[in-house]
């Protein structure tokens, strides 16, 4: 997966805001979703490793979270 082209993104203290100027839609991501989106071009296992380190959780749990967020971000059209 990779981030959809043309999106505008801006970090805020507890997450990330994304604006899609073509669809005129905006999204507010929490910190975990933001990490997944920002590292979307990595492999799932690599994203999971980032989450595991950041949140001090096991690899399996982190991988499950990474996959769930990737799916959710894909459904929202933020990843392609």
């Amino acid at each position: 997966m990779k981030r959809k082209d043309g999106l505008l993104a801006q970090r805020i203290e507890d997450g990330l805001i994304i604006y899609d100027p073509v669809r005129d839609e905006s999204y507010v991501l929490n910190e975990t979703a933001a990490l997944v989106w920002e590292n979307a071009e990595l492999r799932e296992e690599e994203i999971a490793a980032i989450l595991a380190e950041r949140y001090d959780v096991g690899k399996d749990e982190a991988l499950e979270d990474a996959r769930a967020f990737i799916q959710e971000l894909g459904e929202k059209g933020l990843l392609v």
Partner: protein, 244 residues
């Protein structure tokens, strides 16, 4: 309308609008609307006319027609709505928030919220108590200096009208009959979500507008739930006077 000359020039959303109108409407343009007069070269030309068909305004033609001479308030209402439709989506140097605004001692207080949240009720009541009017339903916040620019009202004719005013407070308001009054602070993601929902022109401002959303959401703003006009008015006045 083939030729727009532009007579009176007024300031709305930080842009100068040159109005062209027939002699029959001159007394109306010489009245309340002229209080928004601003010298300088116009940014946009708009024409207002009379014709026998029904009232209408044409965004692309930049022309607006009335079937008969309207009342001053009807004219203001239509033109204000029209100007917002014309200008807000084109503004690149200010983020237009779905908010009413008045000028307090420390600067502009924006009362932001969706339709029915009490924006008009509160701004009207505040203006009746001596606050200078800035905006009723769309308040543009300058991307660089956070100035809030005045624009015509929609539903009443306030006595005092402020010029561009520095932003002092944003208050997210919700009129909720039967609810207890509550005043809190909202910041971060929750604030960002509200700002993203309650603006008219993020598409035009692009990245700088998004940066302003981030800045305002990190600074945070007040969130007021009020059960009655008097309660909301009292709290907003306290915020205006005490800065709390």
């Amino acid at each position: 309308m083939s030729e727009i000359r532009g007579g009176l020039v007024t300031l709305h959303f930080g842009k100068r609008v040159a109005w062209d109108y027939p002699p029959e409407l001159a007394p109306l343009f010489g009245g309340f609307i002229s209080r928004f007069q601003d010298p300088g070269p116009p940014d946009i030309f708009l024409a207002v006319g009379l014709r026998e068909q029904e009232d209408s305004f044409e965004i692309e033609d930049r022309s607006c027609f009335f079937r008969e001479i309207p009342s001053e308030l009807d004219l203001i209402n239509v033109l204000s709505y029209w100007v917002r439709r014309m200008l807000a989506p084109r503004l690149t140097d200010a983020l237009v928030l779905h908010a009413s605004a008045v000028k307090a001692r420390s600067g502009a207080i924006l009362m932001m919220g969706p339709r029915g949240s009490g924006k008009t009720t509160l701004v009207k009541a505040l203006c009746e108590r001596g606050y200078a009017f800035i905006a009723e339903d769309g308040a543009p916040v300058g991307l660089d200096d956070l100035s809030v620019f005045p624009s015509m009202p929609m539903s009443f004719l306030p006595e005092a009208i402020a010029g561009p005013t520095g932003l002092f407070r944003i208050v997210s308001i919700r009129y909720a009959p039967g609810s207890p009054t509550s005043l809190g602070t909202i910041r971060g993601r929750a604030a960002a979500a509200e700002l993203l929902r309650e603006n008219f022109n993020l598409r035009a401002t692009g990245k700088p507008g998004l940066a302003l959303v981030a800045r305002l959401s990190e600074e945070g703003f007040l969130s007021l739930v009020f059960p009655s006009k008097n309660t909301g008015l009292r709290v907003i006045q306290e915020i205006a006077e005490l800065g709390t």
